[in-house]
Amino acid sequence: MTELVKPNRRQFLKSGVMLGGGLIISFMIPASAKRLADKSMPDPAATFAPNAFLRIAPDGTLNIILAHVEMGQGIWTTLTMLIADELGVDWDKIKVQHSPPGQAYAHTLFGIQITGGSSTTYSEFDRYRQAGATARTLLITAAAQKFGVDPATCRAENGMVISGDKKAGFGELAAAAAALPAPTNVVLKPASEWKYIGKGMKRLDAPAKVNGTAKFGMDMQFPGMLTAVVAHPPVMGGKVKSFDATAAKAVPGVKDVVQIPTGVAVIADHFWAAKKGRAALKIQWDAGVNATLTSATQLKEYQALADTKGLPALEKGNVDAALGSATRVVEAEYFFPYLAHAPMEPMNCTVKLTKDACQIWTGSQLPGIDQMAAAKVLGFKPEQVSLETVFLGGGFGRRATPTSDFVVEAVEIAKASNKFIKMVWTREDDMAGGYYRASFVHKLKVGVDAAGYPAAWKHTIVGQSIFAGTFLEAMVQNGIDSSSVEGVADSPYVKDIKDSFVGLHSPKVAVPVLWFRSVGHTHTAYVMETFIDELATSAGKDPLEYRRALLKDDSRNLSALNLAAEKAGWGKPLPAGHFQGIAVHESFESHVAQVAEVSVNADGTYKVHKVVCAIDCGLAVNPDGVKAQMESGIIFGMTMAKYGKLTFKNGVVEQSNFHNYRIARMNEVPEIEVYIVPSSEKMGGAGEPGVPPTAPAIANAIYAATGKRMRQPPFEKIT
């Protein structure tokens, strides 16, 4: 199906014949593509094997192959629209699939195969349209030859090439098109000819998701496959000292018990037997370095660090002198706990191992990294490991672990047992499994001028680095993990201040941390938007007007802010007891503003009645998909504000399941309105940017209602 082509910068496009006479369009990423991967990554020049982004079968079926994975964000449909518009397809003949791991599917900006950073649509906007345009050009050339006409008289639409009264289906033309040389350049359609882009299509994955046929990693079942459940150390990072599996092996259905580096795995005919077997294990654990890790103590340590300077992420002028001469100084300290991603589908991975090959089925945001990690465990070459990416039952960053934690664990089980296994984590395993949003402390001391605007900004951030020690180490420059300070060091509120200092401490803690939907913005947007609100109210100014003044040269933030405020009726009378809070934040190249409407009850409980959201993401390829991601982000953000908290006591995670790690439910979800700013600005993301403004908008509304500033989310009750 694929062919090996020696890479050549000029050979950007390559067409070829697919098995069965179809047309296959493959691509090479420009060698100039930005690469963040370190030297341990295989050199794409050596391993490059171009793969298809689309295939047309002789029956006209169009297979779209996705370099990115579907985890709810909608790219199954959006990437397809990009090809479909250029190609002129019969939408009903489209089939979509995830790509296998392969350098041809590397991210156009990041250089490795990854789904993340809300970047899929904009990073593929050109590549996927070009894939469609290339196929169209070849099909038209083939048709023109067949018809004996000038290609200029041909057009492709609805899965056919048409010239005058002549027409031929794509399937009919596929073999001839595949035999043609690749076009040297292709012309993309102007926006006026787009049928799908900017208008939108219904989700192509929805039919399978409403009748139970959509396959997630958890749903992998094969003859001979067993289920493995792992006993993990109760203290994060602990090790097995010794264990007795006698009782576990006596549980009917249990087939094997094996020790692996991360615990003891019980392998059985099915999940239930494996889980019962695990309960019957007697294990002595070595607690390890986290035996004394307790969240309250950690907070004190972080607070003490926040009183010291830290490494400079931003340093301008002389902030201490400027604070000394400020009209007024406002201080605040914020604390953010660890957070678990808690996707609905707990981590799982299926592994079939033979002497010289390993097959993996899982839902992963980093399939290439996982493939290599599995190969390393087995002493295999990466090409001996195949990985099929199925639907992800939620990702939120958790299924993109640089260490490939859950894939490696499953491979270790298969290796130790020599059995075909599906490893299944319980919800409790998932909750205690690490790779959390790191805990952070922010300490601010801001001097304001006579008009009440910030004139000196001193800000210290304390929290673990997610990039240090990973293949994305390059994101740590001069000791600064950019994800720890994003949204602060580059804040539009700070950039014009002459005297500013943003310092960072990245304490090393043996708790694995990871990107979590909207990453650093989960805490930085909260700090900036609640603190700016505080500066506004302490200066006696309207929070919207105050922001407008500070963002006067920031047209995109401003247009989102103004649209949200207008649609929410900011400043207009509200139902009795209702109060509004506003927030605006740029993340992942998009600008999002939200107005939350909240009422607080006498007992301190509160209700979020409504959230009005405006986003400027440039061109919205699938507008309803953008709206869906804003709704999703808002509810995700509300869960963070109300419930998001994961704590340790003596190294043990204190939360275990959805009863004590709560997620917002139907009865508490606000009415949500989403507006897309008509924009021809640079395209941005949608999966994450909806999250950051929600919690601060809610907190600001709570302040409006109660006069209380919420500096330690979550807050379920205002006391």
């Binding site: 985890m71 709810g72 964000q73 909608g74 219904k202 989700r203 994955d205 929805a206 039919p207 399978a208 998701k209 409403v210 009748n211 139970g212 046929t213 959509a214 396959k215 997630f216 958890m218 749903d219 079942q221 289920t227 009917p252 005919d269 099915h270 999940f271 239930w272 037997a273 019962k276 808690a342 996707p343 609905m344 589908e345 707990p346 639907f391 992800l392 039952g393 939620g394 939120f396 299944v424 319980t426 919800r427 309803d624 998909g625 869906a628 709704e631 999703s632 509810i635 995700f636 399941n657 959805f658 009863h659 997620i663 917002a664 439910r665 139907m666 009865n667 979800v669 009415e671 949500i672």
Partner: protein
């Protein structure tokens, strides 16, 4: 051995009496549309019908299901034409999709018992089902739409 009827088909299953129905359905019978989310009746991803009642199959022992009609998402309709399924598509409801089987199975009982559910009725019937993607606003709209479809006689 237990005799079970799932989606009007009979199965003899070899399971221990403490085995939750969820794992019988998924791992023994092989119907994977019903999902495992929490194992303690907190998230509703495993919702199935037992004689028409919505139950959390992760905490329902197999013994309780003997002699009853079990319906899973695969048995809700033959051709995905239940009003809820049609409405779900119309509202582009699913995102990751993992919780959606359970959501639809919970909503199906609501809609059968209440042809015209209010927002409050939806809150009460659906608050046992968690969606981490936050598709709740679309689920709400889809249930209202399904009520309209049902009123018009089933298939949109």
């Amino acid at each position: 051995m237990y005799k079970l009827t799932v989606n009007k088909k009979n199965y003899d299953v070899d399971a221990s009496p403490d085995m939750p129905l969820l794992w019988v359905i998924r791992d023994i019978i092989g119907l994977t549309g019903t999902k495992f989310g929490c194992g303690m009746a907190q998230c509703g991803a495993c919702t199935v019908h037992l004689n028409g009642e919505a139950v959390r199959s992760c905490v329902t022992l197999v013994t309780r299901a003997v002699g009853k009609e079990i319906t899973t998402i695969e048995g809700l309709s033959a051709e995905s034409t239940h009003p809820l399924q049609l409405a779900w598509l119309q509202e582009d409801t699913p995102q990751c999709g993992y919780c959606q089987s359970g959501q639809i199975m919970s909503a199906a009982v609501l809609l059968r018992e209440n042809a015209n559910p209010s927002d409050q009725d939806i809150d009460e019937a659906m608050s046992g089902n968690i969606c981490r993607c936050g598709t709740y606003p679309r689920i709400r709209k889809a249930i209202h739409l399904a009520a309209q479809i049902q009123k018009k006689g089933g298939n949109s």
